[in-house]
C-alpha cells in the first residue's frame, strides 16, 4: 500500500477561551493560552492520501490539485489569520489544535471529490491529517477509506511528540 504526504506551513494566532467557563476556570484550564490577546504558531499541516499508484503516470494524486485544494479551502482562511476573529468555523468553537485538525479534516473531505478524487486516472482517499502546532505538540486525525462512509468526528489519535 502506498501513501503520499504533503506538508504545508502556515502561521496563525489563536486564543483558547471557552464561553462555557468562568474567567478563572479559563485561566486555570488554558493557562498562558488564555492570555487575552492571543498568541501565534507556525503550524505544519500534513495531508496524507492513500491509494493506488496510477500505472501510466506513477501518481497517487496530482500534487497541483492537492495544492489547489489546500490553498482554496485551508490556507486561504487560516494562514496569517487570527483563528478566533477571522475564521467563522471558530466563532463558537475553541480553536485548540485538536479542533483545528478536525475542522481541516472536514473541509478537506468536503472538497476532496471536486478537487482530487479520480483526477488523472489516479485513485486515492484522504487518509490522515496531522498538525504540528510547535516542535513539541502534534495532533493527528486518521480517516477510514471513504468507501466505509464513516468519518469519525473524534480525534482518533492525539499525542504529544517529545
Amino acid at each position: 500500500m502506498t501513501s503520499l504526504t504533503r506538508r504545508y506551513r502556515f502561521s496563525a494566532s489563536h486564543r483558547l477561551h471557552s464561553e462555557a467557563l468562568s474567567a478563572a476556570d479559563n485561566q486555570r484550564l488554558y493557562g498562558k493560552c488564555n492570555n487575552p490577546h492571543g498568541h501565534g504558531h507556525d503550524y505544519i499541516l500534513e495531508v496524507t492520501a492513500t491509494g493506488r499508484v496510477g500505472e501510466a503516470n506513477g501518481l497517487i494524486l496530482s500534487r497541483r490539485r492537492l495544492d489547489r485544494l489546500v490553498e482554496d479551502k485551508i490556507l486561504c482562511c487560516f494562514a496569517n489569520r487570527n483563528l478566533n476573529a477571522d475564521a467563522p468555523d471558530f466563532a463558537q468553537l475553541v480553536p485548540t489544535t485538536e479542533n483545528l485538525a478536525l475542522v481541516i479534516t472536514r473541509l478537506l473531505k468536503e472538497s476532496w471529490a471536486d478537487y482530487v478524487a479520480g483526477s488523472d486516472g489516479a485513485c486515492s482517499h484522504l487518509s490522515r491529517v496531522h498538525i504540528q502546532e510547535t516542535g513539541r505538540n502534534g495532533f493527528e486525525v486518521l480517516i477510514p477509506d471513504s468507501n466505509s462512509r464513516n468519518l469519525s468526528s473524534q480525534v482518533e489519535d492525539t499525542y504529544a511528540q517529545s
Partner: protein
C-alpha cells in the same frame, strides 16, 4: 518492534509522459515536468519489524543493513539522473511513488529473513513531500 535506518542520496529526474502534450504534462506533474530535469535531496527511511535476537540483542545488524542500502539504493542512485541512468526509470516515470516502490522491491529482494521483515519504506522528496510504502500489496 520496529527498527529504522536512514540513507540519503541526491539525484535528478524529470516527470514527463512522451505521449502527452507540454500543457498536459505541466498540468499533471507541475514543474516536475520541466524538460531538462531538476534534482532532489532524497531521504529514505527503511523500517524493519522483528524481535531482538536473544544472543546479539539486535533485530538485524545495522551495519549489514547499511551495506544493503549502499548497494541497492545509494550506490546506483546517488548523483545520477534517474531517467537516464537508473532502470526502470528509463521507461517508468520516476515520481516519488514509483521511486519509493522501486526501493521497496530492491530491498525486499535482499531482506528475506523472517526475523527482520521489511515493514515500511518512507521516501522524502525534499522536506515537504514523502511517500510511504508499507507491507501488503506494495504497488496497489
Amino acid at each position: 518492534m520496529f527498527v529504522t535506518r536512514k540513507a540519503e542520496f541526491s539525484a535528478s529526474h524529470v516527470c514527463r509522459i512522451r505521449s502527452l502534450t507540454e500543457a498536459e504534462n505541466l498540468e499533471l506533474f507541475g514543474p516536475e515536468a520541466n524538460a531538462n530535469g531538476h534534482g532532489h535531496n532524497y531521504i529514505v527511511e527503511v523500517t524493519l519489524e522483528g524481535d531482538p535476537d536473544p544472543v546479539s540483542g539486535m533485530v538485524m545488524d545495522l551495519k549489514e543493513l547499511k551495506d544493503i542500502l549502499n548497494e541497492e539504493i545509494v550506490g546506483p542512485m546517488d548523483h545520477r539522473f534517474l531517467n537516464y541512468e537508473v532502470p526502470p526509470f528509463d521507461r517508468v516515470v520516476p515520481t516519488a511513488e514509483n521511486v519509493a516502490n522501486e526501493i521497496w522491491r530492491r530491498l525486499a529482494n535482499r531482506l528475506r529473513s523472517p526475523a527482520a521483515k521489511l515493514a515500511r519504506v518512507r521516501l522524502f522528496e525534499g522536506p515537504d513531500l514523502y511517500v510511504d510504502v508499507v507491507s501488503g500489496d506494495e504497488t496497489a
